[in-house]
Assembly symmetry: C2
Homo-oligomer: 425 residues x 2
């Protein structure tokens, strides 16, 4: 993409009312726009990152049998009354609205109820199970406090998968698979080492749920981490009983702040009981379906990535999430022919590049923008590099700079396994 044609501009200052570092950087770099507290729009660069994260999640969900659907935001009151979750004194973060005829509607903050009801039409026999529908869809939560940028919004994208199983054994086996899939997702964006499977409060059907907590000072949660065992305990269940259950000792745990980047829940028959979601087994006997829910917020994950991978100059995207694989800078009018050629060669090789071809920006402005936007590889074409017959390559993360022949460079970028160009403009 030509940067001269990209309609967003970077800015020096974030809005004054923005306190979260992730949102400050993302706004300054032109990735998101703050509509109001806790409500952010995604601009072209930001949407590219979000789509990359969504695709990583989709791949892992599909690999464990997930089937994607797309439920609605508008929610029918009567459906939520079945589980007593319509009442504002039970669920305190509903956004509610009304039809012209006065009927109350809600905006979905989660989707167990409507999906369980929907699945009644498709699940009758043991042959219809298991089933793993999931969606990447907008949730609405009427939060009182929103100070964490895109990590906690009033409107945000969520990947929610729900499992429908015949029995505990089938449920547990999928639950473990989902846990592994989640691990893969966090690893592929570079958060594997600092993300812990964390024991948190369960519900009526299981003692604990599992959160995926990424250690980070900007996190809203407190967890107790066992480095050795690579697990953690959420403060909400951190007591002697839990430590005993998990065979952990206080001495081996360290208190850390963390961001909850995912969570998985065993729901038992709570929702299938409420909606009479039963199946008939091989012997003609009826049983309630066993359910689980598995959530990741792609926007929150994007925010966590920015919190962790950034420095005083800007964002440092991990390659899997980056809006482009390389950022090509052309410095000076005299070099534009050579820089154009490098850009075209990259495109032909299937390497996604943002090409800073602007005539009205100085070298200093281009360097500052590149650091702020944070694409993993910065390539520079300048009179100096042309003199040497090479291109300057800089790694945003390590700061390492190298002069490379163009051919060698393109080959390197391809072998670095940059994703093939889905959309080159």
């Amino acid at each position: 993409m030509l940067q001269s044609g990209l309609f967003t501009k970077t800015r020096r200052e974030a809005p004054k009312d923005e306190v979260a570092n992730n949102a400050k950087l993302l706004i300054r770099a032109g990735f998101v726009h703050k509509e109001m507290a806790g409500v952010y729009s995604y601009l072209p660069l930001g949407l590219r990152v979000l789509n990359n994260i969504n695709e990583i999640i989709r791949k892992e969900m599909d690999a464990i049998g997930g089937q994607e659907l797309f439920l609605t935001a508008l929610q029918d009151k009567s459906v939520w009354e079945k589980t007593n979750r319509w009442d504002d004194s039970v669920v305190d973060n509903w956004f509610k609205t009304k039809l012209k005829n006065g009927s109350e509607l809600g905006l979905g903050f989660t989707h167990e109820e409507p999906l369980t009801k929907l699945m009644r039409e498709h699940i009758n026999s043991f042959r219809d199970l298991p089933a793993y529908p999931y969606q990447i869809q907008t949730k609405f939560r009427n939060e009182i406090r929103v100070k964490s940028g895109i990590m906690r919004g009033r409107e945000f994208l969520m990947k929610d998968l729900y499992s429908f199983s015949k029995n505990e054994e089938e449920h547990n086996s999928f639950y473990e698979k989902a846990k592994e899939a989640y691990g893969k997702i966090f690893s592929s964006v570079g958060l594997g080492d600092i993300t812990y499977v964390t024991f948190a409060s369960g519900g009526s059907f299981s003692k604990y749920s599992h959160e995926f907590q990424t250690v980070c000072e900007a996190g809203e949660d407190i967890i107790y981490v066992s480095e050795d065992k690579k697990i953690a305990v959420n403060k909400e269940v951190y007591d002697e009983k839990t430590l005993e259950d998990l065979g952990l000792k206080k001495e081996e745990l360290e208190e850390r702040k963390a961001i909850e980047v995912g969570n998985i829940f065993s729901l038992g028959t709570k929702f299938s009981d409420a909606f009479n979601l039963d199946y008939t087994d091989e012997n003609g006997e009826k049983h309630p379906v066993i359910m689980g829910s598995y959530g990741i917020g792609p926007g929150r994950l994007m925010g966590a990535i920015v919190e962790i991978f950034s420095d005083e100059r800007g964002i440092v995207w991990p390659e899997a999430a980056a809006p482009f694989a390389v950022h090509l800078l052309s410095l000076g009018d005299s070099v534009s022919k050579t820089a154009d050629k490098v850009y075209n060669d990259l495109r032909e090789a299937g390497v996604e590049a943002l090409y800073d071809d602007r005539k009205d920006a100085t070298a200093g402005e281009k360097f500052a923008d590149a650091d702020l936007i944070g694409i993993p590889w910065r390539l520079v074409v300048s009179p100096k590099t042309i003199e040497q017959g090479k291109v300057e390559v800089k790694n945003r993360r390590t700061g390492e700079i190298k002069m490379m022949e163009e051919k060698e460079l393109v080959k390197l970028l391809i072998t670095l396994n940059v994703k093939p160009a889905v959309k080159l403009c």
Copy 2:
């Protein structure tokens, strides 16, 4: 995809309260689920169709310089007060809700206001123009009557592009390009011949807007079509003055019912004036930005396709929108090895197939499901076809049946230019 693993099932009857043919068929075939009047969820098959349509639209929008972003549903009252569109007596289809602190919020029924405000941060100079941001995003409209299935919903996906131009000339040139791009979109889903550029009411800044109206008995609009000139006039502006403007005579026009599948509007400086969206020209002079808006509802388009391409047995998807390129049916346990081989060969050739491998469905049920689901090519592997060393191929649209060698068939399907498998499971 294995049909035995697809969690949705077809059904004989649509819900009793459903009156629209598109929704009846889509519900029966397991493409959508009715949450309540005018609110539909997309099930896996339906989401595949919707994604195909979205990709067709994206391709054309990107080709004319569109840059995708993603705005929010939650809307700030103060932003809409600038244009006097917050008031329910001015805009009668708002859904409104409230923050915990009592502040009123709206759910976006369109996005001119927040986008114009947003663009102020990115447009200052003539160098920043033109700009063509677009999104594919959920709109909410509090409609009183919803009887057209997924063609008119209270919650629905919309592609809305907005143009920001320096002057009328630049605006008009893009407007014509957008018109052409829209034509390409409707042609690629097979509606080109019956979709008319239709003159409709304009606004303060242009005499007419342009709708794309697809002739169909299920349509909610009345238009007057000139077959010769390939244009039409919407009933709302059908008077002597308009006919004179367009050089049309009553005699050459035919009254038809039609579905509005797209519309494009010149907005002039209505929104840029309200938000002070100006730019500075080469001489340092300030001018307001000229705007336009360009909408297509992917769900409505999907509904229109079903209204037009269906028969008494079910849906007849055009290839570009179909959830899969082929529907492979295995009839009888004895043939499963051969059918599995055909399925694997199709996958390897990059042909997307739904494989009806169910053991518990009769041949009659499989045929009926295939007709209802409406995938363009039905392939049958049965004891009879194996005896001949061939596969039976049926065209859903023409009903034509042919016996073909498997190799020849796979070659044919590839040359038919079926889309490459994005996701094979």
